[in-house]
Amino acid sequence: MTLTQSTNNASSSLSTISQQISVVSQNIARVNNSDATRKVANLVSGPSGGVSISGISRTANKLLLDTYLDANASSQSQTAINSALNQLQNTVGDTDSNTSPAALISQLNTALQNYSSTPQNSAVGATVVTAAQELADSLNSATQAVTDVRNQADSDIATSVANINDLLSQFQTLNQQVVQGTGSGADITDVLDARDAVLKQLSTEVGIQTVSRSNGDMAIYTDSGVTLFDKTPRKVTFQQSANLAANAVGSPVYADGVPIAGTQHSMSVSSGKLAGLVEVRDSIAPTYQSQLDETARGLISAFAETNSSTTPATTAAGLFTDGGSSSVPTTLTRGLAGLIKVNPSVDPTQGGNAELVRDGGIAGPGYTYNTGGGASYTDRIQQLITNLGKSQTFDPSAQIQQTGSVTDYAKSSVSWLEALRQSSSNEAESRQTTADRAAQTLSQDTGVNLDEEMTNLLSLERTYQASSRLISTVDDMLTSLLQAAGS
């Protein structure tokens, strides 16, 4: 009786060990998968001393996972903002390269000063026009860059929304398997891992919160509380814009019919790539655009010409025009920086006369300042230099100084951008570190350690040997007994 029992125990041990080795092999296979958790076979001892596997459990840690989801979402939003700011920074360049509108205004000033010392030389006058041309071009291309950044953000939002919908439908499948598996008692550890992996990917796109229920079911809400998944996925919708011109507004993102991003709403998400992209598209890029527009307006206004022979005196756009129009805008005009150009009547390459910079009359014959026709008349040039340094009023919505010269204004715009870039870059770095740390902690706590698995394997091997030896020993004993009885 006892020998038979021993054989039974040993054989139950052998079958348990082979199951345990199978778990160890699963763990080893996933040693480099950061989404996989460590699996443990739960052993129970039977009433007569035998062992069996009651189930497989995994070393999940909900708290650490939630921390990671938060940290990842918040890092992703800042990364999106930071990369957009780096793109915008190309419009400014390094301080020692003359590529920013601020530096080019200063170049124009230099050209005017040179012209004032040799006003009789129309070739020097042409350099003023060239400097003005470069300045207008830089404002045009900066506007293009801002538009590109906004369009890119808009298309990234569309991609992000598509990802969210895709991930939610994957989540539905996995969640059903978890609920069914929990009910039937099947091994669902791999499905749970896969479901957590989907959550991690989802947190990259949008900040989320999860709620677990007793049957293994899980519901997902945005960080602002809008339902993304509860039994079934909710539809996240977004209408991508064809082209976001300077004055165009991008469409909002809806989840379950509630606006979650892209419009003023109390349910707006605050983290995840989506939140960062919307911030870029609707706040940062348009503000920078306003600054460029106001710089352009300041230039048109500083170079405007006055016809004092009429009553009241009329003012018309001079060296710089709003896309060829003679009017001088007095308020923030969205997209002006994209339209500003040098008046063709002063551009020698377009059949114009560069000497009009010195004489005035770019806007028309009535606007001539040098009525005597002197070749060394410098009053108008001096006036233009003074105008560049003269205080003007700018729109407060552009978030930088409201009064100051156009030269100062362009400089402040550089300051604004770089200050934002500095804080955003620091913030992105610190959030990235937090997210890395959270990922690290999660992985340390729930991941697989190869050494440990190998050690387990060794001890399992020994146990297997011992159990086998037991069986053969009992067999030997029974053989001896049978032989003794038979002889």
Binding site: V40, T95, A103, N109, A111, T118, P119, N121, Q382
Partner: protein, 352 residues
């Protein structure tokens, strides 16, 4: 099976990977900083202060441009001064001829030659130009300020003078009958009709094409000053008047009393002119001085701005070099660690 100090294998390698990536980024930045001597990303390092740097560069561009234009203006002023020197010398020579003519030690031909030479020198010098700009033409710098008094056809001024002479005496100055003009008549002519030919309005309309408006230039960030003398200046008129008395009124044929009346007038005028020419020259000299002072100031400002920009943007080479060697040491350690970790597996010790 779960020990308290558990660590997963992937987190062990991930950590090293992340630190290597981070170190490599720092290495690239440090290398760039050492090569350029400036921060790798000036904008991110300075943040809102970037505007200060931009603004200082704007200031520097502006004052350097002013300095360049000041040098051009200085060239023009030096050329003007040298013309005025020549003028002044020929006026003094003329004055000595007049003085000796009063004591009759000089022949009238010599005096006439001296006046003609003086007039020509005056015209030549007032017509001098630099880089396509007539120095004494004021803002009208593309037009030669003086026409030739002796030219054919005669200048408008010379014609006016002949007509005034004809109106007064009924004959042209080249008529030998001028010998009959009495000294009193001549004095009256000089005081009235002749003076009228050289009135301010006639001078600017008939004698010179120069503008009364001198050329002005910005010599510092705030100061715009006049930087030329124009031919419309009364000094040049007076000198022309004195030369014209001898060379435009048929001096050779006049009787000696009338000649003396003219010589006396011409002497007084010329004596005044030599004094006021000095004033004109010293006026230009003051302007020259202001411009060189402004240039000196600009030099020190540029110096200051360059230093300030460097203070903002430049790295401390010693610090960055130290940092660079620290980073490379850390990087080597990280590589070493990676290879050590790779060897440090239980698999290497499970003998089979």
């Amino acid at each position: 099976m779960i020990s308290s100090s558990f660590i997963s294998s992937s987190s062990l390698t991930d950590e090293t990977l992340r630190s290597i990536a981070n170190l490599q980024k720092q290495l690239v930045d440090s290398q760039k900083e050492i090569a350029t001597g400036r921060y790798a990303d000036v904008g991110v390092t300075l943040g809102a202060t970037t505007g200060v740097s931009v603004s200082m560069r704007q200031d520097m561009d502006q004052i350097q441009a002013i300095q360049t234009s000041n040098n051009i203006v200085l060239n023009r002023l030096t050329a003007s001064q040298s013309s005025l020197d020549t003028l002044s010398k020929s006026a003094s020579d003329f004055l000595s001829s007049l003085i000796s003519a009063q004591t009759a030690s000089t022949s009238q031909d010599t005096l006439i030659q001296a006046s003609k030479a003086g007039m020509q020198t005056l015209q030549d010098q007032l017509n001098s130009s630099l880089d396509g700009q007539y120095l004494f033409a004021g803002t009208n710098s593309d037009v030669q300020p003086m026409d030739d008094f002796f030219g054919t056809p005669p200048s408008q001024g010379a014609t006016d003078l002949r007509n005034a002479f004809k109106a007064k005496f009924g004959i042209y100055p080249d008529d030998p009958a001028v010998a009959n003009i009495s000294p009193d008549d001549m004095t009256s002519f000089l005081d009235n009709e002749f003076a009228n030919v050289f009135s301010d309005s006639n001078w600017t309309s008939d004698w010179t094409h120069a503008s009364t408006k001198p050329v002005s230039n910005r010599i510092s960030r705030s100061a715009v000053i006049n930087t030329s003398v124009t031919a419309t200046n009364g000094t040049f008129r007076d000198l022309t008047e004195a030369y014209a008395m001898i060379s435009g009124l048929g001096f050779a044929n006049l009787n000696s009393g009338t000649q003396q009346a003219i010589i006396s007038k011409a002497r007084d005028l010329t004596a005044n002119v030599t004094g006021s020419l000095t004033q004109v020259q010293s006026g230009l000299g003051v302007t020259q001085q202001r411009i060189s002072d402004s240039n000196d100031q600009i030099d020190s400002q540029v110096n200051f701005l360059t230093k300030s920009i460097d203070n903002l943007e430049q790295i401390d080479p010693a610090a960055v070099t130290t940092q660079l060697s620290q980073i490379s040491t850390a990087l080597q350690a990280a590589y070493q660690l990676t290879s050590q970790l790779n060897n440090l597996s239980i698999l290497n010790y499970l003998g089979n």
